[in-house]
Point group: C2
């Protein structure tokens, strides 16, 4: 068995997210596993660095898989790119240490949430931008972002109420910037809970528009209660930017 | 009558170009003129800075038009953005001097041609990029670009053989850059002939891949013969970036 590390990008618009789910068609994992299985001659398991939800995009997702035979990486990459539609692209494939696992070894992930605050979205980025016409106070957003940064119990920023696992995570940085009317929020952390980036984005947006105050962040975190945070913004604005190992 | 200056952007993929043509549906000019005519209560003529061909995009096209009544620019912009599909966006509308005409007063235009030289196009820019897997020699391309810059008779770079008008134009600059595997060629000039940017891009690409030499540019220009220049690249890679007045 040879282990491989793959980097890939996708526009998630047409897909039911990363993770294959029974007979649900059109998941990124399901589609690529099927192609790898055909190439391998027997089923292949593709482990992504993490699941991205339906509609979420990835600029550089990482995944690992094992094949029965030692295969030329460049040939494999070209073959997959030929078979995959235009909205999924393999960036690279390389041979990896047998112990490498894209999810278990991931050290850090960066996500970007894009919001167009104009009355209509830029036509060239509209497929990966959430349209929300408003005016935002960047100073307030930056103060709120600073309060969310660091090691906290993010239970209030998680959609899964039933989880028994730890909801403590560490966020290394949250950068917010406004370029023209395009608002970008970039989150880097050790890992994120279910819907956490979309809920943090929704909460920061409420701070930006004045519906919440920066200082509210501390109370929201301490409450551990999902209903105190802002809304879960649509998946279309979210992009996994990179994974670090 | 009040004269207006409008800036707009569009992804040209779904459209038959800028210029309305009899009963051909889905031209940018035709669609916006129809909406303006309804708002005005009588037909309106929309003059673009120039025609963009079917499939060509615009980051900032300029157009002028006259309405019978003095209308609030912000209200008009919002109404048009609401009525237009997501791939056409009005960036601004302002009142203009009665003599302002978007085509006649245009001083300078900038076009960008994008080529992805990798085996598959970046999923996020694939709709405005021409995929042409190859290796390019940037030094050769820059030398060729320098020879095409300036005031020349560009008849060899024009698709319209029957034109009786002058084919002399001045190109102020041609910038070529390679970022990763994405090749960008930016052309700024007083004006361009029919298909001129796409033919120049095809010619420079042939120089980049070694099929033509930089020094060939002088002979191609002097020949005044279309068949000596490179191919007309697809419209999908071409974007009108801006117009200066």
């Amino acid at each position: 068995m040879q282990n491989y590390k793959m980097l890939l990008q996708y526009e998630g618009t047409r897909y039911n997210g990363w993770q294959k789910q029974g007979n649900t068609p059109d998941t990124i994992q399901g589609i690529i596993e099927a192609l790898l299985g055909e190439i391998n001659g027997s089923p292949v398991e593709l482990n992504g660095s993490g699941r991205t939800d339906a509609g979420v995009h990835a600029e550089e997702q990482c995944a690992s898989f094992k094949l029965d035979t030692d295969t030329d990486c460049a040939v494999l990459k070209t073959e997959l790119n030929r078979l995959l539609k235009k909205d999924i692209r393999i960036l690279s494939i390389e041979k990896a240490d047998p112990r490498f696992h894209a999810r278990l070894n991931a050290k850090e992930k960066t996500y970007i949430y894009r919001i167009c605050t104009d009355e209509k979205a830029d036509v060239f980025t509209r497929h990966f931008t959430y349209l929300y016409p408003c005016c935002v106070d960047m100073q307030k957003m930056k103060r709120a972002a600073a309060l969310l940064t660091g090691r906290h119990d993010f239970k209030a920023f998680c959609s899964d109420r039933r989880t028994k696992k730890s909801t403590v995570r560490e966020i290394y940085s949250i950068d917010t910037e406004l370029e023209g009317k395009l608002l970008r929020m970039r989150f880097t952390g050790s890992g994120f809970l279910y819907n956490m980036v979309r809920i943090m984005s929704g909460t920061l947006l409420k701070v930006g528009t004045g519906e919440m105050q920066p200082d509210d962040m501390t109370a929201v975190l301490e409450s551990l209660d999902r209903k105190n945070a802002g809304p879960t913004l649509p998946s279309s604005g979210l992009t996994l930017q990179s994974v670090r190992y």
